[in-house]
Every structure is written in C-alpha cells, then in structure tokens.
C-alpha cells in the first residue's frame, strides 16, 4: 500500500464497505475528508442541515438494509446530528456517523468549534470512537461498520481530529477477520438455544388462543419469509408494531394490523384474550403494552430477540430465546414439523372469534364529501400507488393514519421514527429512501408541524432532482398534542395552533419543487395522480384536511386495552368474552 492521507483512508474504507452514497455538510474540521470526497467514486449528497442529513442516511439504511453514512464537522455540525443519531439508535438502524474534531493538541482547550462529541453521543450510539492515532484509523472505521451492521444494529460514531485526517500513513485495510479479532468482547448470539425452541414448539402446539406479536427486529433480520411460513403452518394470527409493518401482507385474513395505543380493536382484543403471545423481534414498548399488569394477562409469553437486554426488561417472559429471528424461526418451524400438526384445526374457533371482532370494529372513520378527511387521503394514496410505494412519515396524527390506512405488503415499506418519535424525520428519510431504492415511488406523509422542522432540505431534493412526494396532511395544528389536550386537558388548546403558516404551494414553487393543493375530497385523487407523474423533482401536495379529526381507536397512555376509546362515544369491551361456537 502506498502512503495515504487519513482522509483518503476514510474514503478507502467507505469503498471497501460498499458504500455508494454519503450524506452531510462540510466545515473546518472535516475539510480534508471532503477534499478526498471531491473526486471519490461515491454519490455525495450535500444536505442543508446535518439533522436532515442524518435522517437521509437513516432512510437510506432502513429502505435498503445497508449501513447509512453521514458526515459532519466538529462542534455544531456534530451536535446537529444528535437527534438523527438518537432516532437511529432507538429503532436499531445501522448507521456510521463520521465527525471532524479539532486537532488532537487542541482537544480539551475549548478550541473553536470544539465539543465533546464522543461524550455527548455515548448514550445514543451502539458504540463510538475518538481516533487518537492514525495507525488505528482504518481499523476503527472497519470496526464501526462491523458493529453498526451486525447483532442488533445501531448507529456508531467515529470522531476524527483534523490533524489525523491530514497525516500520511502507510497502511493496509484490515480484513473482516482482523476486525473480529480486534473485538474480543463483541460476539452477538445468533443461534437460539435448541431446548428453548423445543419448549416454544410445545407451547404453540398446546395453545388455544395464540397471537404473534412481531416487531422491527424481524425486519432487521430479514425474516419475512419465515414469518409467512410460520403463520401459514400454524394459523396463528399476527399483529405488528409500526416498525414491522409490511413484514406480512396486511391484506391477509390472519393479519391483525397494529397493536397498542393506536392499534386496531381486533389486534388489541386478540392480544388481551390470548393464552400465548409469541413476541418476535419486539420489545414490549409502553406504547404497545399500555398498563403492563393488564397486558395479555392470561398469556404465556415466548420472546425471540437478538438482544438479551430486551428480554424480560418490561415484562417477565416464560420462554426467552436469544438469537437472530430468522435463524430461530427456521428452527422453530422445523421443530413444529417434527410432529403431525392436526392441532392446527383447534385454531379455527379462535380465528372465527377474531373475525367477529374485525366485523364489529373494523378500522374506519366518518366519511365526508365536503371536507377532506385525513384518512381518506391515505386511502387514496394507497389506491393510486397500488400499495407498492415506500411510505415515510413524520410524527403525530398523520403518522398513525399512515400506519393504519395504507396496507403494507413488503418489509422496509413503512419508515417512521417509532422509538424516539422525531418530528422532522419523514421528508429527509424519504429522500434517503429514494436514493437507496430509485425504482420505488417514495411518499412522505407529513404533518404541517413535522414537515416544517426540516423544510430547508426541500432544496436538497430539488438540487439532486429527487422525485419524492410530500403529502402534507395539513390540519393547521400540532394535531396529536391537540388531540391529547382535547381528551385529557379539557380542550385547553395550549400552543398547538399552527394557523399562521406559509402558503405551502408557493413555498414549494419557490424552492423549485412542484406545489399542488387539494381542499375538497373530489380533488384528492387528481392531485395524487398528477404528483405521481413528476419524475425530475420533488412535489409537495398541501392537503387541507378536517382540523379536529382524531386518531382512534386509542388506549390512553398507561391504561389497559380494556379501556380503549373506539369512537368519541364508545369504550372497549366488558371483562368476559365468548369464543363463537
């Protein structure tokens, strides 16, 4: 190997790792790396805000399964990444953030644009590094990628002082073996324990009212085939978190859709009355369980997860299986097939009961032909895209409607900030997703509050001619907060009114994007189809919707599924249910 600059070593490792796109914004401490990027064979996307860059890298990673890469300078550049890194951390998104740092001899002196970035990001990264010697640079970068993409994935940050990017060093790219050997304490556990898998199979055979509860871990492990096979073999109905939407076709009769706070009536009832809950790559988040003491109170719980720290964290489980979801499910299916499976017939009564629940309270809303209902917009987007688009969302009511009223059918189809709930995520994530999956239509379903948090990066999408569609569910409110104020704070609408807002059509046009608007239900499908025809720039559609529509059903925070609000007047079910005969 010839002698190379630290900055060139960075590019070499990126190429070795198969990186084809990076996102970021330069500054003093990372100029050397940007200099090396100038003629590197990589797509280099200049964002307008580092937070947006980090969500782009995140969207790229979620859509493709590859590691997303984001670059920023020291100090404010790096601190602007914090929200994006935390967002990726909460949802286990593989990401490598490379930040410039002040030169080594200035560290700790309050130098210009100095911040302790390794300190700041320690609790929101899977791991992070400060490079102190150019000899370690290549190995650390390789370790960063390896840690980000293996085990339970997550963001890894590498902070590189400017002098190290400038030094010249005669180096060799470490091999994957070197990397593994250099991390003796890091050994993700992929194989499930066979005796636990046997126990799980026994419980499945005996269960009368089983439910599969599938989370993002199943998507990360690429287990959609296995999930499908398991459901069809065992006829166990399946509910997902919003992180696992699309892992299993939502039009399938055994699909119960989402559970939890804004879960469907039938998903929540099924979980509540279940006698066996099989949690697959899910982590019993409080938005899912509600009041933990009354979460599936009758059920035995099997929990398959790659992260031992997720198991029995919020709820004590009966059969924990630590391992990669895909591998464990393959073994579980094999185990189940060892004995005749006539027990499956006993499921039909349970399935009938669930069908009753589905009929009784399907996902629905009050339709209107005068005013645009936000749910209607989502349904029309679903129809116009034939269920094939990648959907991203901000955070709020529009996010929940996007989860409920678009029916997903392939994994990595619905990208949203589930764990951190980051407003401003949806649009930049769509830009990243489109770059990763150029053949897919990508639509950001955004709120008027969320979108404006990263509105500046509309210009990035214009500059690179990225044809994403922003479907703005414009209710002139921080709608989700307004809903909580209406339900739990006596309708005292404190700091939620966004009636003062830009003309979003003109705003889009001034950025060089296409701006469209619909104010009547009859205009909705027309503008969607118009937007879908544009393929050389972003389109923003301003859907002026019913301002005070609520997201229902809803289990109020910390309450039991029994206390679900179904519609403004209806509450959940009584304590006793009958299996239909």
């Amino acid at each position: 190997m010839p002698k190379k600059r630290g900055a060139d070593i960075v590019i070499d490792v990126l190429l070795e790792e198969g990186v084809d796109t990076v996102f970021g914004l330069p500054g003093g401490a990372i100029m050397e790396v940007y200099d090396a990027l100038f003629d590197a064979p990589l797509k280099n996307i200049l964002a307008r805000h580092e937070q947006a860059a980090s969500h782009m890298a995140d969207g790229y990673a979620r859509a493709t399964g590859k590691v997303g890469v984001v670059l920023a300078t020291s100090g404010p550049g790096a601190t602007n990444l914090v929200t994006g890194i935390a967002t990726a951390y909460m949802d286990s998104v593989p990401m490598v953030a490379i930040t410039g740092q002040v030169p080594t001899h200035y560290i700790g002196t309050d130098a210009f644009q100095e911040a302790d970035v390794v300190g700041i990001t320690r609790p929101i990264t899977k791991h992070n590094f400060l490079v102190t010697d150019i000899k370690d640079l290549a190995l650390i970068l390789r370790q960063a990628f390896y840690i980000a993409r293996t085990g339970r994935p997550g963001p890894v940050l590498v902070d590189i002082p400017k002098d190290i990017t400038q030094q010249v060093y005669d180096y060799k790219i470490p091999t994957e073996k070197d990397v593994e050997a250099s991390l003796p304490g890091y050994k993700p556990h992929y194989e499930g324990n066979p005796s636990q898998i046997k126990k799980a199979a026994e419980l499945i055979r005996k269960a009368k009212r089983p439910v599969l509860y599938v989370g993002g871990g199943a998507v990360l492990s690429g287990a959609s085939e296995e999930i499908k096979e398991l459901v069809e073999l065992t006829r166990i109905p399946l509910t997902t978190t919003n992180m696992a939407k699309g892992i299993f076709d939502e039009e399938h009769p055994l699909a119960l859709h989402m559970l939890g706070m804004h879960g469907t009536y039938y998903a929540n009832m099924s979980v509540y009355y279940s006698d066996l809950l099989i949690a697959v790559g899910a982590r019993f988040d409080d938005r899912v369980t509600g009041k933990i003491q009354e979460f599936a109170p009758e059920a035995k719980i099997i929990h398959i997860d790659i992260d031992p720290a997720s198991i029995s964290k919020n709820i004590t489980v009966d059969v924990p299986i630590v391992g990669d979801v895909k591998l464990v499910l393959q073994k579980l299916i094999k185990e189940l097939k060892k004995k005749p499976i006539e027990w499956v017939k006993a499921r039909e009564q349970w399935i009938k009961q669930i069908e009753k629940w589905k009929e009784k309270h399907p996902l629905t809303y009050q339709k209107s032909d005068k005013i645009i209902k936000p749910q209607y917009v989502i349904e029309e987007i679903y129809r116009a895209t034939k269920g094939e688009a990648i959907i991203t969302a901000g955070v709020g009511q529009h996010q929940m409607w996007a989860a409920m009223f678009y029916k997903y059918k392939f994994p990595r189809q619905f990208l949203n900030s589930g764990g951190l709930g980051t407003m401003g995520y949806g649009f930049p994530a769509a830009v990243g997703a489109k770059l990763g999956k150029p053949d897919k239509k990508v639509i950001a379903i955004e709120g008027d509050g969320s979108f404006i948090m990263n509105v500046q990066d509309l210009i990035t999408a214009v500059q690179y001619r990225i044809p994403v569609i922003i479907a703005l569910i414009n209710n002139s409110f921080l709608g989700m907060v307004r809903q909580w104020q209406q339900l739990f704070y006596d309708s005292r609408y404190s700091s939620v009114c966004l009636a003062t807002q830009p003309d979003f059509v003109k705003l889009a046009e001034s950025f060089g994007a296409v701006g469209l608007r619909a104010t009547k239900p009859s205009e909705v499908s027309k503008v969607i189809n118009e937007a879908l025809k544009v393929n050389d720039r972003p389109v923003l559609i301003d859907f002026v919707v019913d301002r005070e529509e609520n997201v229902l059903p809803m289990v109020p925070a910390g309450k039991s599924y029994r206390e679900m609000i179904l519609s403004p007047k209806e509450k959940g079910e009584a304590e006793t249910m009958y299996l239909v005969g």
Partner: protein, 190 residues
C-alpha cells in the same frame, strides 16, 4: 355461544429487594471504557458504593470490581447492558457465590499523648493493621480486610481524632472451590 373466556387475572411481577451487589467486570482497557460502565449505573440514579480497577494477567485487560446497592431486577438489567458493551469481556454478579472480599484503608489519626499512642497500638495489633508513618502527633495506619472489619476499626479509632481516610474500595474474587463446581458452560454464561 361457545366457550367462555374470562380474563380476570393481572400479570404479577416478582417483587425484588434492594441489597448490596458485587459485580466483576473484565474489559478491554481502552480510554472511555470506565465512563461507559459507570454511566449505566448513573443513568438509573444508582450511586456506585465503590469501584476499583486494576490490570490483570492479560495485556490490555482491566478487572473492575463494582459494589452497588440496588434492586435485584434493575441490577440484572444493568448487568445485561454491561455485557452488551462492546469492550466488556465478561461480567458477573458474584454476590451469591462464595468469594473473598478485601479492602485496604490508610488512616491518619491524632496520636498526641503516650496513653493515646499505646491504646492505638493495641488496637492496631488486635486488628492486624500496621503503622506505616509517624509524625509528632499523628499516626498513619494501614489496614486490610473486608468492609465490616475496616468499619469496626474506624469506629474504634474515631474518638482519637480522625484526620483523613483513604479507602481503595472492595476487590473481590470467587473461591476456587466454588468455581470448580460450575460446569464450563455456566462459567461462560454466568
């Protein structure tokens, strides 16, 4: 109508108690590794009672003994997260295993008059401590033992006028007889 499903049950979570835990961590001795370890405790509002770090027989591997008071369930969770850290090699809670604990203290005490000196020397003798430095009116005493022994000694010596105490915090190691009984597997996963 078919079979009735009654749901009256409430999920019971095991009650757990707060008590002292001794946790042994072996980790790559990189800079920052201690911060990663201690912040897992701090993040839950747990104050580490004592922490001691030392080199081991392996190069670049540190052995860290942590003593902390905490709820069983939360400690279990912290241990899982300690194991998850990239740089930790092995993490064990040895509280329930037969083990040996030792701590060393250096104590400066006022020793002005002859009778005070005699009395202090007598206590030093009984506790198998040592006087390691002498000044006109001050003795510096070195003592090792478990936490109770050192505590008892300090209580007895306190009336003479304590000037300063430096304690190392506990180091602990399991008894070989106990580890031998565990199978190889258990040793790996405990």
């Amino acid at each position: 109508m078919g079979e009735e499903i009654k749901v009256l049950k409430v999920r019971e979570e095991k009650k757990t108690e707060v008590r002292k835990h001794i946790i042994i961590v072996r980790a790559q001795h990189n800079f920052g590794v201690l911060t990663r370890i201690t912040s897992l405790f701090a993040g839950r509002g747990y104050n580490i009672e004592s922490l001691s770090v030392g080199k081991t027989n392996e190069p670049n591997v540190a052995r860290i003994t942590i003593v902390v008071n905490g709820d069983e369930r939360i400690i279990e969770q912290i241990i899982k997260q300690l194991r998850k850290l990239i740089e930790t090699l092995r993490v064990r809670d040895i509280t329930n295993q037969p083990h040996i604990e030792r701590e060393l203290a250096l104590i400066k005490v006022h020793a002005g008059t002859d009778s005070e000196r005699n009395e202090i020397m007598r206590l030093v003798d009984i506790f198998r401590a040592r006087i390691v430095d002498v000044y006109t009116d001050t003795y510096t005493i070195e003592i090792t033992g478990d936490t109770e022994k050192i505590g008892a000694f300090i209580d007895l010596i306190r009336p003479f006028g304590l000037k300063d105490i430096a304690r190392t915090g506990i180091v602990a190691i399991t008894r070989e007889s106990a580890t031998r009984k565990l199978s190889y597997k258990e040793q790996q996963t405990d």
